[in-house]
């Protein structure tokens, strides 16, 4: 892998919501790193609830990254309510809106918004 095209992920918990934080571009090359981290977080949930992806440090996502989010949402629908934390006026925000991801995934701008909100659309 190109040394400068590295996606870093780490986990944190925000008021009971497990969060996978990504740092770097999510593209055809790096999406598998995020896939593995999200699958781990979804599998670790002992009961149904939210799992969030903190993408505030993701400056770029392409259609491979979008497909990954759909895949995770579909495969863990029964146990994980996928939510996204993004930066305003960013490339990911525009691409997610073009794909209408805000109609079926919870999209927030801060971790605090996760706690008291619910997913916008039913399964």
């Amino acid at each position: 892998m190109n040394e400068e095209n590295v996606l870093l992920v780490h986990n944190y918990n925000h008021n009971g919501v497990p969060v996978v934080a990504a740092q770097g571009d999510v593209d055809l090359c790096t999406q598998d790193i995020l896939r593995k981290a999200l699958i781990n977080s979804c599998k670790e949930r002992s009961e149904p609830g939210k799992v969030a992806v903190d993408m505030r440090e993701v400056p770029f996502i392409d259609s491979a990254g979008l497909a990954l989010l759909v895949e995770i949402r579909k495969n863990y629908l029964d146990t994980c309510q996928l939510a996204l934390i993004i930066s305003a006026r960013s490339q990911p925000e525009r691409v997610l809106k073009l794909g209408r991801f805000d109609t079926f995934l919870e999209v927030c701008y801060t971790p605090d918004e996760l706690v008291n909100s619910s997913a916008p659309v039913s399964a």
Partner: protein, 157 residues
């Protein structure tokens, strides 16, 4: 360097690479570097990088008959108020779909071409059994340039 057409075009910059997904970052970096010398603003550059990335990813995934030993070429033409990027592969070509609509939000895929069309100002596809060339153009809005309606077509190379 001007090419004599009065438009101030800089000499084309080419990047040829093996069809591996880890090359996408280099493609984006090249286009970003060239775009920084135009009047495209930050949002326009980010949008165009997305379109180019999708075209290059398409070449890697679908236009590489010899896998990662196949070659993909990216040719960039810079103008002060626009950037044009061609992505060429040597695959077997494909039928240009009749629609460019974004698939439903929960569709597993099919967003590449719709993103290209949504985020570039013009998209042209020439595909044959010898390969595919996708040409993408982005205009700087601040330049007052007229927007070109996104279009795509199939033609012999």
């Amino acid at each position: 360097m001007a090419n004599g057409d009065g438009q101030g075009e800089i000499l084309p910059v080419e990047l040829e690479f093996f069809a591996r997904s880890d090359q996408l970052a280099d493609v984006r970096k090249l286009v970003e570097r060239l775009a920084a010398k135009t009047r495209l603003n930050k949002e326009e550059i980010e949008d165009f990088l997305t379109a180019v990335d999708e075209a290059a990813a398409n070449a890697i995934r679908h236009g590489s008959p010899n896998g990662d030993r196949s070659l993909v070429k990216v040719v960039c033409h810079s103008l002060p108020t626009a950037l044009i990027v061609e992505v060429r592969d040597r695959g077997e070509g494909f039928s240009v779909p009749g629609t460019s609509e974004m698939p439903g939000p929960e569709a597993p895929g099919g967003r590449g071409l719709p993103l290209m069309i949504a985020l570039a100002d013009a998209v042209e596809i020439a595909s044959s059994a010898k390969g595919t060339t996708i040409t993408l153009k982005k205009l700087a809005r601040s330049s007052g340039g007229e927007s070109i309606v996104s279009r795509y077509s199939s033609a012999d190379l």
